[in-house]
């Protein structure tokens, strides 16, 4: 083995070994996003998930700028560097989209599907970067007592960080600095050099706040209906309110009406399922990582990190693919769905 490889392997093994002495604090998990800047007019507040969403957008914009300089004429036909990386992401997905939806509609669907995919994947993967969820402000704990942070004064700011002595088999007590560091501006119950409170992270994955998946789902469903209307004109509404047969005097038309009602309920259920699938996966992943770093020596928690990487990618793909599939169903017309193949028998 080359000496460089040997060093890397030794470093990784050393980190894993050292990780067995380090443990995370009991995670103060809470569902709603924590406010960083409150008191804006009309009751608005800036939460840590909003900051993370802005960061996600910034990362994507910078990546795309580096790839294209926002000028298609200046892009080279033979890509290199960042452009080839972005093309490596865009092209397979474009092929997939056009494979599912056909060439014409595929081009129309692609921007939305790609944006949804990139946003969800980037926000999920950014949350795995060290610093997310560990750097923040120390505030008064609202449930029970908080943790004790050791504090150091640096001029006007107090820097608080969290130490958790981990007993290994009861024999050794080692105090290791934990990855939770906090810049604290509201000192609560100060004793000399220590601060008690709860860590409010400055950045928290955007999709762990119910609002973001809900917004994405609303946008997706809105566009699905829009494309359906664009493909079929006003008769797209016939899919949901089907009074054609009834008005022609056939009492069997009641069944069509009922089917239309079920379709409407199915659309609303899609909205809910989009939202909760993404929200549940992201939130559960965040809680899982926090709890695993508490329960298990840090080194072993790396396996769950890999799981989170996979889940972030898969959920992004699933959201995008489902949007795509439902959109293709909407523009294909309800008469051509395999489930309603029997509907066109002459009555």
């Amino acid at each position: 083995m080359k000496p460089r490889t040997l060093i890397i392997v030794a470093a990784v093994l050393g980190l894993l070994v050292a990780g067995t002495f380090v443990r995370g604090p009991l995670p103060p998990v809470q569902l709603p996003a924590e406010t960083i800047v409150g008191g804006l007019p009309f009751g608005f507040r800036i939460t840590n998930t909003i900051l993370a969403a802005w960061l996600t957008m910034a990362v994507l914009l910078i990546l795309m700028y580096k790839a294209t300089h926002f000028r298609f004429e200046r892009m080279s036909l033979v890509p290199s560097g960042v452009q080839s990386v972005v093309e490596g992401i865009v092209e397979p997905l474009l092929n997939l989209v056009e494979g599912v939806a056909g060439a014409h509609w595929g081009r129309r669907f692609f921007p939305l599907v790609m944006t949804i995919f990139l946003f969800i994947m980037t926000s999920a993967w950014l949350a795995l970067v060290p610093g997310f969820g560990t750097i923040g402000l120390v505030e008064k704990p609202h449930a029970g007592s908080g943790h004790h942070f050791s504090a150091v004064d640096l001029g006007p700011l107090r820097l608080a960080f969290y130490l958790d002595p981990v007993a290994l088999g009861g024999a050794k007590e080692k105090a290791q600095p934990e990855p939770a560091a906090a810049k604290e501006e509201h000192p609560e119950s100060k004793t000399a050099g220590s601060v008690e409170g709860e860590l409010v992270p400055l950045l928290r994955s955007a999709n762990t706040d119910l609002n973001t998946p809900l917004a994405l789902a609303l946008v997706a469903v809105f566009f699905i209906e829009l494309w359906g209307l664009r493909a079929h004109g006003f008769s797209y509404v016939k899919r949901f309110v089907n009074v054609g047969s009834l008005l022609r005097g056939k009492p069997m038309g009641l069944i069509d009406l009922y089917i239309g009602l079920v379709e409407t309920i199915a659309e609303v259920a899609r909205l809910i399922s989009f939202t909760f699938r993404l929200f549940g996966n992201m939130l559960a992943g965040e809680i899982l990582l926090a709890v695993i770093t508490f329960l298990v020596p840090f080194g072993l928690g790396v396996a769950f990190y890999g799981l989170e990487l996979l889940v972030g990618f898969v959920q992004a793909l699933v959201f995008g693919m489902l949007t795509l599939v439902f959109a293709s169903m909407a523009v294909a017309g309800h008469g051509e769905e395999p489930a309603e193949a029997g509907h066109h028998k002459p009555m």
Partner: protein, 78 residues
């Protein structure tokens, strides 16, 4: 029974929500995976299509488990 904490029913409900709720998706995903393996064995050339559709179907099944988890989380935090 007199000393039973009135909150204890909520805790039991949390555990049951995710516990029972995970049975269905677990079985569903297992069946999906098995069928996908069968299909792959019969027709190894269709690997791309089988894989893509399997992942999609698994995500659908998993979503149901996530709903159960969300119910458990809501019971815990609200």
């Amino acid at each position: 029974m007199e000393n039973l904490d009135p909150r204890s029913l909520r805790w039991i409900a949390e555990g049951l929500a995710i516990g029972i709720g995970a049975i269905g998706p677990g079985l569903g995903i297992g069946i999906l995976g098995g069928k996908a393996m069968e299909a792959l064995g019969r027709n190894p050339e269709a690997r791309g299509a089988i894989q893509a559709n399997m992942i999609l179907a698994i995500a659908f099944a998993e979503a149901i488990g996530i709903y159960a988890l969300v119910v458990a989380l809501v019971l815990h935090f609200v």
